[in-house]
């Protein structure tokens, strides 16, 4: 059967070099391994909740309990200017999207190192490892979205057609998450400091993003600086589009989109560069 297979793929292994062509062929190999990407992503979801009583409920419980905590904290400290929208849903919409980002990043950063037994034995495109964590986090996001829908119904929030903007916003976010995951997982191979610093970094990053407060809470004169953070455009616009039925702020969204657009190829090139000697270092 194997001999009868008419078409054989000729593969040439050369010392690592970086040309647009090499990058394109990497994408080709990744496409060839798409089944592995799928199987491993399903596996991530399955394994995460195996032998846990609440199972997939955790995907919902995490942002939900965080929402309760922040609602409680801010109701004691004082009011956050939400422009009339109930605070719990402001917090939940932010936490929902932030959880996707932070879960994906936390898990994927260690993705290569924790699979060293595989990486040193079998070849497959290594970017699959961090990317499966991103996909698994996206899955959690979808599950938890149903709670958001429930909350919106509960608070009687009316939606407009602008809700469709959620799709490009999520696409931008996913690209950003994927490329940051690639960079951090590759860095983690050589510098384990990255993994250790991750919780701190994410904490700081969260407070630098309008997650538990709306963008309107930021004084105008800081905004130019504040919106350099690509997560700002994503989180704020997600909320605006969903809860206020507004059109997105194309300025902040453009910042996020441009940064993601730059990061996708850049992170992939860097990742492939690390991949070449990964098995020798990890």
């Amino acid at each position: 059967m194997s001999v009868a297979t008419a078409k054989r793929r000729i593969k040439v292994i050369r010392p690592p070099s970086f040309s647009p062509l090499a990058l394109l062929s990497s994408f080709g190999v990744l496409w060839h391994y798409r089944d592995l990407l799928y199987t491993l992503s399903v596996h991530r979801v399955k394994v995460r909740y195996k032998q846990s009583i609440l199972g997939i409920m955790w995907a919902v419980l995490q942002p939900l309990s965080l929402m309760l905590i922040y609602t409680l904290v801010f109701s004691i400290i004082g009011n956050v200017p939400t422009g009339g929208t109930p605070y719990p849903i402001v917090a939940f919409s932010g936490l929902l999207i932030w959880s996707f980002f932070s879960t994906a990043l936390t898990n994927s950063t260690n993705g290569l190192v924790s699979h060293s037994h595989l990486v040193t034995k079998v070849y497959f495109p290594r970017e699959i490892l961090p990317l499966t964590y991103v996909i698994a986090a996206l899955f959690d996001f979808v599950i938890a979205s149903f709670v958001l829908a429930g909350l919106m119904f509960y608070y009687k929030i009316t939606t407009t057609l602008n809700i469709l903007y959620v799709i490009p916003i999520l696409a931008i976010l996913t690209c950003f998450v994927a490329s940051v995951s690639l960079i951090f997982s590759a860095l983690q191979v050589r510098f384990r400091d990255v993994g250790v610093a991750m919780p701190l970094l994410l904490q700081l990053w969260m407070f630098a993003t309008p997650v538990v407060y709306p963008l309107s809470a930021i004084p105008k004169r800081f905004l130019w600086f504040y919106t350099i953070n690509p997560m700002v455009g994503v989180v704020d616009n997600f909320r605006e589009v969903l809860l206020h039925g507004a059109t997105p702020d194309f300025n902040t969204l453009a910042v996020s989109a441009l940064i993601s657009l730059f990061l996708v190829p850049a992170s992939y090139i860097y990742f492939k560069h690390v991949e070449a000697t990964l098995a020798d270092v990890v």
Partner: protein
Amino acid sequence: MIDLKFDHVSKRYRIRQSDDSDTQNTLLRKLRALRGRKTDFWAVRDVDFEVRRGEALGIIGHNGAGKSTILKLLSNITTPTSGEITINGRLAALIEVGSGFHPELSGRENIYLNGSILGMTRREITKKLDGIIDFAGVREFIDTPVKRYSSGMYVRLGFSIAAHLDPDILLLDEVLAVGDAAFQAKCLDRIKELEKRGTTIVFISHDLGAVERLCDRVLLMKRGQVVKSGPAAEIVAAYQSDATLSSESVEVHKKGETNEIEIQTLSFCDDLGVSRPVFKTGEPLRARIAFNANETVKDAVFWLLLFTADGQIHCELTTELSGEQISVKPGSGVVEFRTKQLGLQPGIYFTSVHVKKRNARDVINYQYKSTMLRVDSDNLLQGNFYLPHSWSVTQSEDVDREYAGYENVVRS
């Protein structure tokens, strides 16, 4: 038709020198190490070979000769520093099976997971699922998490997945050393079947016997380079006779020797005292150690150690235990160890010979890896060693026809 081509391939590893100056500040030291001196180590240097379609190529050599690096380069786990590798067709490596298993998942789920890691599509796996399960013999437990599997089942399932890849080119490591003998035979059959179908095979192993049985052509590697290539039997023989290929230096062991007695040669011979390179399991064997004494040594004790290819002591022969004193006079002599039936399983064994005064700390003289012992067998028995045994059978009805004890010797 060339399936595999190494075109002047080299692989360099950079080893960072640790800074000897005792800087107190560890952070500073680490930062310095980052840009510090590096030593180059060429694991593979200018290796050039081709494998034709349907050919079975063996690669042998001592530990550190570059065999595993070749394997890693071939399977694309690491990239070459220079040169080019061309692979024509689907390549699969049968190395350390089961390393991609997840304990929480069922056997079936793991087949999909591991199969896709090895490069199969889901559709392909579904098609081969029954074959894989039956080959591994785990049908009853296929929906049980693999953490409940016995280690044997685990290994069998792992091999079974890999064996069903149907590659154009198959890379084999020491994988044949898995499972029990029956399963090993099954694996070998499967590999032979693939070979018959025209699969190109690259086999990297310490097991010279297996290499000789499976391969048409063999490359002998030494310090990252191919030093010889040719028909399997020829190269295996050359490897065995060339003890200097040893990666370890004999000089290291010369320390502390007093040299009143010098060990000269070690040879293995049969019952009649005829020296031979290969012995069969169950045959009589004599190991002769020729020595030359420079002065009188009272109560000398001789040792012969046999090592497996990976450097583990396999067994020990000594004049120590009998308690008798050997008094060595100046001049030459021979110590002979004898066994009626060789209990070693087929393989290559390295030797070391040393002589000491009883209860002394220092060695008088030492010889390491000067000779190899090769054991072969026509009839493979399972287990770690061959236990010489005889047998008889008795039945109550025909006590009269009781069989005399039959000696059961492996050699046919």
